[in-house]
Amino acid sequence: MAEVSRGKGAIKFFFWLAVGVGLFYYAFHTYYNGQMISWYYYKTKADGYAVNADVLKGYSKEKPALLQIGPFEKIEGLQAVPVKKGDRLPINANGVITAVQVKKGERATLENDKLKVMVPMRIREAKGFKYKDTFMHKEVQTNPWSGVWNVLLILAIGFALGLTAEGFTDMMGYKLEKIEHFEGAH
């Protein structure tokens, strides 16, 4: 293998490091401005009520949550928005209490214009590591294009990090030669 140029290695390292850091920054920016989350919690798969399941933490049969039902564009706190299958989820919605669950009445029931919820967002069984997913994820449909975005992002980050590492070893003068797979007796 040709002698490694430390200067070229340094350029390679800093360039691809900048690209990698830029991609990370872009990803975290997309997360913190809510866009990534809205791609994930995109549409509902069933008729029911869209809610922000985080606010249901700590509620129980003894202390149920009372959610105000209404056509809110953005869910804030204890609010629920009626949705039909295939509807876009409102801003801040990350769970769906289905019409079937409300009809059953074990986890949630209707009380006039309010939705009474008797279980928390997620039930974790006392033993082992099992979750019973109450309202999050199950009836939520992710934007399929976010899958393409995820894959392109992770491959781009992998590429940038791989070349950053290669540039680093070149910059440090660490000589990595191609392995002689067939030298000697084999």
Binding site: N94, M121, Y131, D133, M136, F159, L176, G184, A185
Partner: protein, 356 residues
Amino acid sequence: MFDFAIAGIQAPLFLLILTGFTVGIVGGFIGVGGGYMVTPALIVFGFPGYMASGIDMTHIAGKGVVSTIRHRQLGNIDWVLGLAMIGGTMLGVEQGVRLLTWTKELGLSGIVLLTASVVIMLVLFVYTQIETAQAHKKMTKMAQEGEKVGRELTVSKGPAFFQRIPLFPIVRCRTAKIVVSMWVIVVVGIVTGILAGFLGVGGGFIRVPALIYIVGASTHIAVGTDLLEIAVSGGYGALRHSMMGNVDMIAVLFMIVGAMFGAQFGSIATAYVRGPAIRYILSYSLVLACVGAFLRLIYMMTGQKYEILSFFAVVFTLGEMLFLCLFIISLVYFSVRYTNGKNVPDWVPALVVAKK
């Protein structure tokens, strides 16, 4: 602890990065994605099971690219072999997933899956361990007789048999220095893909032995080429999981930070060792994963009554990652000592190279 809004949980950030790092070392060294180690770890950290698989698969795609770049630099990738396998693997994975769905409909999938995992890993462990021990013994004898010991030696008769199959078209893999029917490569891809799709893993622990013992690639080339494969099949798996809502990208990003460093160390470590050393690590990872899967199988077959079994299955799986990392680090350490003319145990010279 970090608040993962998509998964809806809080999980320990340091442990995520550490998991990415340790599995990166192991994966970069033996050419596996490490899903059978990572998925249980993510469940322990608090991620729902379906998300653990999705996060793992997505991080594997990125880690595969990182490792592939380094292995390319080391000359460990045969592009013809890798690209020829990809189509067969993707087709096989689809069929494996359908097979899994069919067993799910019969209500059998959990136990069938675990039983298949245990049997496959046990068979691979036994064969790899016996073959590698024989190769190691032969290399030690050659070293003692003053012969120049090469980077690779295998005693398996499989490659000679499969390379003689005269089905057109015949492919010349220049880097791997093998001439073999394209159908052998494609069928290996399909079969390993079916197993991988059925078991819900990347399949590296099946494909690497298949590349060595059927196609006839050297261990280093099998590792590097498989990581190329994993980058592609992992990307496809990541796409499917993302579309089904099984991926929290922020968790993936933290894991890839650790994986970047780990994969570098694991990949570069292959330059310090001979083929049998990599095969030993692969066989140990198989037997430890087999024990973990066996404990989970017993747990399920006893109606999930004895939580201690599930607990030990997780402990084994997590402990396996650390054990294998330490083993790999020790091989590099011994290689450096050997290079500098210092004392090393008798079993070491046949496994490591004196790096100039």
